[in-house]
Amino acid sequence: MKLITAVIKPHRLDEVKEALQAFGVHGLTVTEASGYGRQRGHTEVYRGAEYTVDLVPKIRIEVLADDADAAALTDTLVAAARTGKIGDGKVWTVPVDEAVRVRTGERGADAL
């Protein structure tokens, strides 16, 4: 089992969600996040005082996938999130030991 984590531009969330649903993903977790990469921050002005805002708003998506699906799912996600401009974000994958569906107690791939 794999945990795929993606940090993407907020306005790509709908496309990514649709793409994952089409792929057959049954559930995912979305968090509002902030951070910076090569895009860096932006400048805001309040009564002439300029503030550099380092952290840019992002969306973090977490989705569990069977080992066999993980690579294809990652590709689908990346394709849906991409705009081609700086700040598109990152996707990474880590192995997961166990997953349990809370309601039924099902484990492993059955819990996905």
Partner: protein, 457 residues
């Protein structure tokens, strides 16, 4: 302003009977001026950080309590009682607003003394609230309340008498202040400077970002101020029989519009963006500047007053970073600078055809009026600055004006008011309701279980 600036009106028609129209109009104007204080609270409250917005709101709002009580007891008498040496007034009848006849009229106007007293009360409430913008995030609420009470007593009530009271010394000299450029805005701005020297900067000033936490609230406040200011300015004529109040109304709108555009234009050129904070601030700067001038200038003059004030105040708000004083919400940059600009511009743009025959430099009046205006500005500025500094020092000695460092970092909302402004806990839950102690022995113990656990989700 009444009664002496009414030189022109006095000549036209001396009213002797109660005017129902003027009385109704002035009661509505009083309500309009009242709403400026909550408006100011929102204007300021949106500009501070999220941890002290309630404190900022309260510093304005509590004035509606404190100043109202003092005004009834002795404030009205000190400001508008029989003149004593040009410096202060007193009339025993006014104490407690007791000995005033139901239909006793104020001076040559057609409104009852009661109406004048409540209209002027709203000005007295607003003025100390303006000072609070300089003191965001870091003063003890009790110290602020005490300072408010002392300040209106020693500074506002006498200065209001100087400028508007019959026999007040600035008033007799012919200083024009239609609705409060000196008595309200320069007074509050200079006081802010005096108090700042005692209170000092916020922790992290010039280092940490101190962005406004809620700009829509700032816009809402600016809108309410703009709305209420029509009562503030046009009501200051106390009646409608000669059209002066209408000119004041028009000038208020025109100058505010010009100042907002002036600030926005400056900001776009200098910083590359039209900001909402700039629009709100520019509007307030225009309102401040036209306050002393709205009964003396033509609408074109008001356009000039507004445009000058908008650009000048936009420049002035940057000065605090250069000089290192933490005028947190720019009381000095907007109210002191705007008040001075408006008061002095009367000396240039007074047409001689509205509230009085006094003409400014550009209307063939020479430098005389400009000189009188300068005197009024300097007198109020120096008195307010010096006395406010001394009062703030006294309060600081007595009880400490500032909160402790850890309280300032935590936020005065929690430490002084035991509240937080916004509930961001989307998941609800987690709060435990604590009953007040049944015995005076101390706080009730936390029963961690069942019934007292509140789960909102």
């Amino acid at each position: 302003m009444p009664p002496g600036i009414q030189t022109l009106a006095d000549g036209l028609a001396a009213k002797a009977t109660l005017s129902p129209a003027d009385t109704g109009f002035m009661l509505l104007c009083s309500a309009l001026v009242m709403v400026m204080t909550p408006g100011l609270a929102f204007f300021y409250g949106g500009m501070v950080r999220v941890k002290s917005v309630l404190n900022m709101l309260m510093m304005s709002f509590v004035g509606l309590g404190i100043v109202t009580v003092l005004w009834v007891l002795y404030g009205f008498g000190l400001a508008f009682g029989t003149d004593r040496g040009g410096l202060v007034g007193w009339r025993g009848d006014f104490a407690g607003l007791g000995g005033i006849g139901l239909t006793e009229l104020w001076g040559a106007s057609g409104i009852p003394v009661y109406v004048f007293a409540v209209f002027q009360l709203m000005f007295a409430v607003l003025t100390p609230a303006l000072i609070s913008g300089a003191l965001a995030d870091r003063v003890k609420f009790t110290a602020w309340a005490l300072f408010t009470a002392l300040w209106v007593t020693v500074v506002y009530f006498p200065v209001a008498h100087w400028v508007w009271g019959e026999g007040g010394w600035l008033f007799r000299l012919g200083v024009i202040d239609f609705a409060g450029g000196t008595a309200v805005h320069i007074n509050a701005g200079a006081a802010a400077l005096g108090v700042l020297l005692v209170v000092g900067r916020r922790i992290g000033f010039r280092k940490d970002p101190m962005r406004p936490h809620n700009l829509p609230l700032v816009m809402l406040g600016a809108g309410l101020l703009w709305f209420g200011w029509f009562g503030f300015n046009s009501g200051s004529w106390l009646g409608n029989s000669d059209g002066v109040g209408a000119v004041a109304f028009v000038n208020t709108q025109v100058a505010t519009a010009a100042a907002m555009l002036g600030w926005l234009a400056y900001e776009k050129l200098r910083h590359g963006a039209f900001t909402t904070l700039g629009a709100a601030s520019g509007a307030v700067a225009g309102l401040v500047a036209i306050t002393p001038a709205c009964g003396a200038v033509s609408p074109l003059g008001a356009l000039a007053v507004g445009a000058v004030a908008g650009v000048l105040c936009a420049l002035a708000v940057g000065l605090k970073y250069r000089f290192g004083y933490d005028d947190s919400l720019d009381v000095i940059g907007v109210h002191l600078v705007g008040g001075i600009a408006g008061s002095l511009l009367v000396g240039l743009f007074a047409t001689g055809g509205v509230q009085s025959t006094a003409r400014g430099l550009f209307y063939g009046g020479g430098l005389g009026q400009l000189g009188r205006q300068t005197l009024g500005v300097v007198a109020v500025l120096l008195y307010s600055f010096a006395v406010s500094y001394v009062l703030a020092k006294g309060v600081d000695r007595l009880m400490g004006f500032r909160v402790a460092e850890d309280e300032e970092i935590t936020g005065v909302d929690r430490t002084a008011h035991a509240e937080t402004a916004y509930d961001f806990t989307g998941a609800g839950g987690g709060t435990v309701h604590r009953e007040p102690a049944a015995s005076p022995g101390g706080p009730a113990p936390l029963h961690g279980t069942d019934t007292e656990k509140k789960v909102d989700a």
